[in-house]
Amino acid sequence: MMTDHRSIPEGPPREPTWTARRIRALAVQGAILAVLLGLLFFGIDNAIHNLNKAGIASGFRFLGNRAGFDINFRLIDYSPASTYGRAFVVGILNTLTVSLLGIVAATALGFTLGIARLSRNWLVSRTAATVIETVRNLPLLLQLLFWYTAVLAPLPRPRDAVSLGGVAFLSNRGLTVPRPITGDELWTVWAAAALGLVATLGLGLWARRRLLRTGRRFPTGWVASALILIPPLAMLVGTGQLLGWEVPVLKGFNFDGGLTLVPELIALWLALTLYSGAFIGETVRAGILSVPKGQVEAAQALGLTPGSVLWLVVVPQAMRVIIPPMTTQYLTLLKNSSLAVVIGFPELVAIFSGTTLNQTGQAIETIGMTMLVYLVVSLTISLFMNLYNSKMAIVRR
């Protein structure tokens, strides 16, 4: 073998282009690709044949057709005369609404349960542990059906509804609350809210810079709450945009007026919150346990109050461990909201992979579009959580 001993090799010796190993790798990959493509063509061929036979025209033209079914919970205008495309949007919005509600409530519940389980107080920690272990080991579907069928359905009829102070009513039609009657200039209220939000962000930045410069803390939480809440409320009352409250009144068999939270939404929200809250509780506990004990002792030695030790020393460090599994929990909650199809809450799967699929028979399009929405939302949330995670990670110096 001829080798040049004087030159220093700049890397591993280059393999010749055509070795047995490479050829084998190429052959294996070619075979995999061929099998996959073969399966794909086989499936598509069969699907075309089956669809032709059933007389179903494939394609997305059905999205412009009249849907013809009603949706009892919606954020945007919708009527049976609307199109399937509009129903699709209503479904997406409902899924996102219930997921967002669930995520906020489950995070709060999860932190409470997780911290309570680590409490020094025996009763508190045992209660939290019992709740977590019970909820975690029961299927979500069972819990959902339990809340819906065994708790909310036996509530009295609207006529005998449980009155909450004479303005809100709890019945088997859901929770009916008064609705604010607003004037035409409502945008001013939203604008005030937006301004408050911007001011809060600015305040947060300023408070952080001041903390880093002088070491003095600013009561950001209180001031921010005031900034977010007071301007829109002041605008609402001060400019006379709030004309009054529409209090629900019993008329015939149901309530007239007011806002109604349908029992399906309440059941779904309760079930998702409890289930994800229990899992988030365990995540939070693991995160807090991952903070070295010396950190707590050092904080105590510096004279911090127990609350400050928890929220200024332990939780910020625990967040590094908590965030990745927490993202998974949020995504799981989003996907679990699809179980609403069982109790008939009109979210994406119920509207699109349920009613629309049954009416049009366009299985491939409807299921495909439903899956795509979940994929897009999942990937987006993952992306944002990864960004946040990299910001929170320990800075290596």
């Binding site: 995999i32 069969n46 669809l51 029961l138 979500l140 059906l145 799967v349 994929l375």
Partner: protein, 471 residues
């Protein structure tokens, strides 16, 4: 700064601190250690006192246990009882366990369950005493099967029970034969068994497969321990046996279509098939994801991320509604099989991520050492990397299994009557309206016991493995 200096002898003369124990001391330390702690304790105690006694009263004290009709809980004309009506569960118990499986054939489900328990007892790391009890249970079950089902069922059950014993014997004499001779012997014996089965019952394939498994195992595998024999029983013989026993059509048993399966039996069937399919599939997907071949890697990543990004319900819809579309006309797949495919694919993707975590935890030195010893790629993975990786992720695997067991409840959405589907049907029976709470409480108890039991077992296993291994 002044420091107090104790003379060296003072500590010796002091009495040890007084032992302070007792309930009062404990309460002061754990319940009333500060003003805030005391307030929290009192508030929570009040809340629990408000919630728990009515619950106990409803579930136990005021509950109705005796009777067989709705009238036991709600006398005609009278008002509803304030307690739980467990009569409802009692009346529906058979259906909740077996679904609509014919009454006189339900012993087949029990026999399958016992056979499974027996095989599992040989495979799973259990305490010796637990294993002995399980083996005894399996033996009794086999005898009961023979007594109930006749001679042939007895023979099958007997063979099944005796096989691990037979396989533990040293069969070194047979192993010295050459591969060709062993293969020929295997094929001949399997063919004979298939012919015999076909002549007797008209189901040559099932018998041929069992025979092939038995003979192949005896001649080809190196079987040294009860555990290996059990694994082989579980992997090769049990599926065929269970399938034939449950669907019928062999051993002279009447045919029971899967539409009649239901209840806890169906839930456990789906969960166990899902577990058995998802672990090997997940391992393959995890290995594929780390493969050096781009096509294989991209395919595996795409599959895993796609499945993990969508809800299980849509995967089940995919399997139940779209799968028939993609198959040639006239090829109908059983509804249960479609659900099983959906469940297996779904949990395989999650299992793949668990296994991948284990693979990443194995230091590259292990692989390099194996390669430098001259092991091939397959050998390195199968003998060095995987055993260590799987041991690391046992908790993750069991967690996925628990999740799978809970997720099987979703098959109720596509119309299968598993435990949840069954209780949904039962509570909407016009004769028994208004007993949803009892129904869901009972089903919840069953699920809770299964999941909690698995979690506890996993914790113990983890502890034992950690104690026994250097990792």
């Amino acid at each position: 700064m002044s420091t107090t200096v104790f003379p060296p002898d003072t500590a010796i003369g002091m009495a040890p601190p007084k032992e302070r124990k007792g309930p009062l001391r404990w309460m002061r330390e754990n319940l009333f250690f500060s003003i805030r702690g005391s307030v929290a304790t009192l508030a929570l105690a009040l809340l629990l006192a408000w919630l728990v006694p009515p619950l106990v009263k409803w579930a136990l004290v005021d509950a109705v246990w005796a009777g067989a009709t709705r009238e036991a809980c709600q006398p005609p004309g009278g008002s509803m009882q304030t307690g739980a009506c467990w009569v409802f569960i009692k009346v529906r118990f058979g259906q909740l366990m077996y679904g609509f499986y014919p009454l006189d054939q339900r012993w087949r489900v029990d026999a399958t369950a016992l056979a499974l328990v027996f095989a599992l007892a040989a495979v799973l790391p259990l305490r010796e005493s637990t294993r002995r009890i399980a083996a005894l249970g399996g033996l009794l079950g086999g005898l009961a099967a023979a007594w109930l089902g006749g001679v042939w069922v007895g023979v099958v059950a007997g063979a099944y029970l005796l096989m691990p014993l037979a396989l533990t014997r040293d069969l070194a004499g047979l192993r010295s034969l050459s591969v060709g001779v062993r293969a020929t012997l295997t094929l001949c014996a399997a063919g004979a068994a298939a012919w015999l089965g076909g002549a007797l019952y008209g189901t040559p394939w099932a018998f041929g497969w069992v025979a092939l498994a038995i003979v192949g195992g005896t001649l080809g595998l190196r079987v040294h321990s009860v555990r290996a024999a059990g694994l082989y029983l579980l992997g090769l013989v049990f599926p065929v046996l269970a399938h034939k026993l449950l669907t019928g059509g062999a051993f002279g048993l009447p045919f029971v279509p899967t539409e009649q399966w239901g209840g806890l039996f169906l839930t456990l069937t789906i969960a166990l098939v899902g577990m058995a399919a998802s672990l090997p599939l997940g391992i393959l997907l995890a290995l594929g994801r780390r493969s050096a071949l781009p096509v294989l890697r991209v395919t595996c990543i795409g599959f895993i991320e796609f499945i993990r990004g969508v809800p299980m319900i849509t995967v089940l819809f995919l399997a139940s509604v779209m799968l028939p579309l993609f198959l040639p006309e006239g090829v109908g797949i059983d509804k249960l099989l479609r659900a099983l495919i959906g469940v297996a694919l779904f949990s395989a993707a999650y299992m793949a991520e668990v296994v991948r975590a284990g693979l990443q935890a194995i230091p590259p030195g292990q692989r390099e050492a194996a390669e430098s010893l001259g092991l091939g790629k397959v050998q390195t993975v199968a003998l060095i990397v995987l055993p260590q990786a799987l041991r690391v992720v046992i908790p993750g695997i069991v967690n996925t299994f628990i999740g799978l067991l809970k997720d099987t409840s979703l098959v109720a959405v596509i119309g299968l009557l598993d435990l949840i589907g069954m209780i949904k049907t039962a509570t909407s029976d016009p004769n028994w309206l208004g007993f949803a709470a009892e129904g869901y409480a009972f089903v919840g108890l069953v699920f809770w016991a299964l999941c909690f039991g698995m979690a506890r077992y996993s914790l113990r296993l983890e502890k034992e493995l950690r104690a026994g291994s250097p990792i």
